[in-house]
């Protein structure tokens, strides 16, 4: 819904992950490039790891070493993010002990 004096656009912050902004919205990137999202809500990357800058692509998620089917190593968890070419990593993803590895992921698109 467009921003108006009666109904300003809402911006939602979470404990981790992207900033949510009601769309449509224009975002000016750090090099001056203008990006436009016409979606009802845009998710703006804050971890600076996204490959679809400036929009979130879920790269903020904590990375874990998967349990291999024929693994000879015990299951290990690591908080090490995937290496990228970008040196700047300002936000560490939220660490949580509740995380467990499971295989129930879907490969389909929604």
């Amino acid at each position: 819904m467009p921003s108006s004096p009666d109904r300003p656009a809402r911006v939602t912050l979470g404990a981790e992950g992207p900033i949510l902004v009601e769309g449509p919205v224009e975002v000016v990137g750090d090099d001056g490039t203008l990006y436009t999202s016409r979606r009802f809500t845009a998710a703006i990357c804050t971890c600076r790891r996204t490959r679809t800058y400036p929009w979130c692509d879920t790269s903020h998620r904590r990375r874990v070493k998967p349990e291999r089917a024929a693994g000879d190593e015990p299951e290990k968890k690591t908080d090490e993010p995937e290496k990228t070419d970008e040196p700047e990593k300002t936000d560490e993803p939220e660490k949580t002990d509740k995380t467990k590895t499971m295989d129930n992921k879907t490969d389909g698109a929604a």
């Binding site: 998710a43 679809t52 904590r62 990375r63 874990v64 509740k98 879907t106």
Partner: protein
């Protein structure tokens, strides 16, 4: 690109039966009789016969079949049979899901990203090893859902209210093209299929789809069509949205690598970005809203998440077993 041809302009022919249950359903639809009463007995709840029989009965609520009276959607005999098929399916899902009833714990396993391929992931396999024929098979099989993408989830809308409803409708609006026909996700999928030289007619690949594919679509219809399973539908929807974005990036990479056209890549590129938004909205407002309104549904939401994982794992095992032995994952001759 050639002019767009609507996949749903015509209804598909009835599929070939895979056993006594599906045979009885097909026969009833062909002859117009409303008294199919085969005993479900100990039919495998995840097997070809039961899943196809259920799939055909659910399709009456979406697109129907060529030469079949639309009124059969509400034939009492067929509805009673559907019920007798749903019960063992639902029981098997509940037995296999093994949920502890906690939504946060059910979601937490999905909210991390494996480093590298764990050997069970279709999208990792396709990204790293996928050849054009793998991607064509994958797209053909997933078309059973994607040509009606987001339709099964629309059933839940009248069962929700307040925050959960507003958020669910916003996400569905996006799935249905945000008011623009050309952006309907089902249409983007048809364009992807065209890029891969697949037949886009609705239902064309039904005969080629193994039970494990049918079950993933039947799950959505089962949860969508029963108000009593509205929590499970929301959980299922969240599981798909949470996992879709990174999976879509791998599939877009796979399509790029094998030289698929721009429409094929666009479908998954769109889902990387869209589903990163949808995930946030579904977790925060659809699940959050529903839990605030109906806290008793928490274990159902968790069940929907777990049941989705169960069926997706079964499907992944089936696809990867076929492809790793260099054989087709399609039933019969690839269409």
């Amino acid at each position: 690109m050639p002019a767009y041809r609507e996949p749903r302009r015509r209804s598909p022919p009835l599929p070939a039966p895979r056993g006594p249950l599906s045979d009885a359903v097909i026969d009833a639809l062909r002859t117009g009789a409303d008294h199919p009463a085969p005993a479900v007995g100990d039919a495998d709840p995840f097997g070809d016969d039961l899943q196809l029989a259920l799939y055909i009965l659910y399709e009456l609520h979406y697109q129907g079949f060529e030469g079949v009276d639309d009124e059969h959607e509400w034939s009492p005999g067929l509805l009673a049979l559907r019920r007798s098929l749903e019960e063992p399916f639902l029981a098997a899902l509940r037995a296999g899901a093994g949920t502890d009833g906690d939504v946060e714990s059910a979601l937490s396993g999905l909210l991390v990203e494996p480093i590298g391929d764990d050997g069970h992931s279709v999208s990792h396999f396709l990204q790293d090893h996928g050849e054009l024929w793998h991607l064509r098979e994958y797209a053909a099989l997933r078309s059973l859902y994607h040509l009606k993408e987001a339709d099964p989830h629309a059933w839940v809308i009248p069962r929700l209210y307040g925050r959960a409803k507003a958020a669910m409708v916003a996400v569905e609006f996006d799935e249905f093209g945000a008011g623009r026909e050309a952006d309907i996700h089902a249409r983007l999928y048809a364009d992807l299929m065209t890029d891969l030289s697949l037949e886009t007619a609705y239902g064309h690949y039904l005969d080629a789809a193994p039970a494990d594919v049918l079950a993933t679509v039947n799950l959505m219809s089962l949860f969508g069509l029963h108000r009593s399973l509205r929590g499970a539908l929301v959980g299922h929807f969240a599981a798909v949205e949470v996992t879709s974005s990174p999976g879509s990036r791998r599939l877009a990479a796979a399509l790029k690598r094998v030289g698929a056209g721009p429409a094929a890549q666009r479908f998954y590129d769109e889902h990387v970005e869209a589903d990163a938004v949808h995930e946030q909205v579904v977790r925060r407002d659809v699940i959050g809203g529903l839990l605030a309104d109906e806290p008793d549904l928490e274990s159902d939401i968790a069940f929907g998440i777990e049941a989705t994982g169960l069926l997706e794992d079964r499907l992944a095992a089936r696809l990867l077993a076929a492809w790793r032995s260099n054989s087709t994952a399609l039933r019969g001759q690839p269409g």
